[in-house]
Symmetry: C2
Subunit: 212 residues, 2 copies
DNA sequence: CGACTTCTTGACCAGTCGGTCTAGAACGCC
DNA sequence: GGCGTTCTAGACCGACTGGTCAAGAAGTCG
């Protein structure tokens, strides 16, 4: 009963996500959100309580979409290394195809808000853990498939690749495709041979790998 | 002639840098800057024209300090891989030792402003190029010293390591030391054996390195 | 000393911030 | 068609934004 919503919440959240992603949290005013969504400020507050709440919903939406894209990319056929290389390239290509360089909303939120707000920090952390989990699973699959060395520590490499991705999305704001592609090639090379995981990292590399 | 400055510009810029670093550009108001520096708003504007101008000066200062620290770290004795590992760990340790997680001011500025402001983007890009140059030099030295393979592409690996660092400083906002250390260990492992730089990256790894 | 200059300060400014509220529109229900 | 409810829209709010300015303080110079 009562008057029904004049708009689809999901559409509004998506447009708000876009605005927050483009301008950051602090630099997106209620007036801008109203303009971006086509909904008057009053209605926005009636539906989402506060700017903060709307942002939280937008962030969740971003995470869902990103996870879906990541899952698709990591489910593609091919060797682990080629799959991950293609996935990283696709994300970089996406960033560079945008009219404005805006990075990754989760990372941007970490930078802008996580340092001051423990709740946001927890949320961001949870969202950052997801690609690590997905990469871990893909690398473990690679080990089962035999295209990844048994002594590759799946979780450690996944963390490393997620870190590389975080870096790439910052670098994509100011650098060009060739540089970013070179970085990706260097990064995925860890899947060729595992990094040393010993306690004393100063020891020399093992005399030869299993091919020797 | 005329009344002399009541304060040291450099001290004020340093404190402003701290405020911008902690809160971001948009979230640092003239009132906060006045409080952080101990200088009345009017004097601040008299000396630095605008918030924007003061920020630019603070950013330059940050870059100078960072470069000096980086130079020191990369000038330390030891093998290239150990030197770089130690340098990355030191930066991570610094980030984690701070009362607030605030990342890297240059990267934060890339995220917050570079997407919308080409001039800031150029400045940030120049600042990001510096650690790449320093790393390139250190890796080339390693090649001369013989502790880095001749087929390591110094510049490519330097870009990769700078990207890793960019990632680390975002990850240091939400992750803990063990995870970050593992990431560093994975990253510096590229110096053990060069990434493939061939056109077709899908080719299998060479049968054995020079130790085999 | 007085003249001149540049500094410091807090009052002041228009504009915007995040948010509230009121008037009334648009339904379901009886 | 009334009634109750929930919606919409935009006027409105105090606080604060980035920035200016006038009044006067603190120097140099002749």
């Amino acid at each position: 009963m009562g008057r029904p919503r004049n708009f689809d919440d999901d559409v509004v959240i998506e447009r708000a996500m876009d605005a927050f992603w483009t301008h950051g949290y602090a630099n997106t005013s209620p007036a801008q959100l109203s303009e971006a969504t086509g909904i008057a400020k009053g209605s926005l507050y009636n539906a989402f309580s506060s700017k903060r709440e709307l942002f939280a919903r937008a962030l969740v939406r971003y995470d869902q979409q990103s996870s879906a894209i990541a899952a698709d990319l990591l489910a593609r056929p091919g060797s682990t290394i080629e799959c991950i290389r293609f996935a990283l390239r696709s994300i970089v290509d996406f960033d560079l195809s945008q009219p404005l360089r805006r990075g990754c909303l989760v990372a941007n939120t970490a930078v802008e808000l996580a340092g001051h707000d423990p709740e946001i920090a927890r949320t961001v952390r949870r969202m950052q853990d997801r690609p690590i989990g997905a990469l871990t699973a893909r690398i473990e699959q690679g080990r089962r498939d035999g295209d990844v060395d048994d002594d590759v520590h799946a979780r450690a490499v996944a963390e490393f690749l997620a870190n590389t991705l975080a870096g790439l999305r910052v670098m994509a704001i100011t650098y060009d495709a060739p540089t970013l592609y070179r970085i990706i090639d260097s990064a995925v090379a860890v899947l060729r041979r595992p990094p040393s995981l010993r306690a004393d990292p100063a020891d020399p590399p093992p005399p030869a790998d299993r091919a020797g």
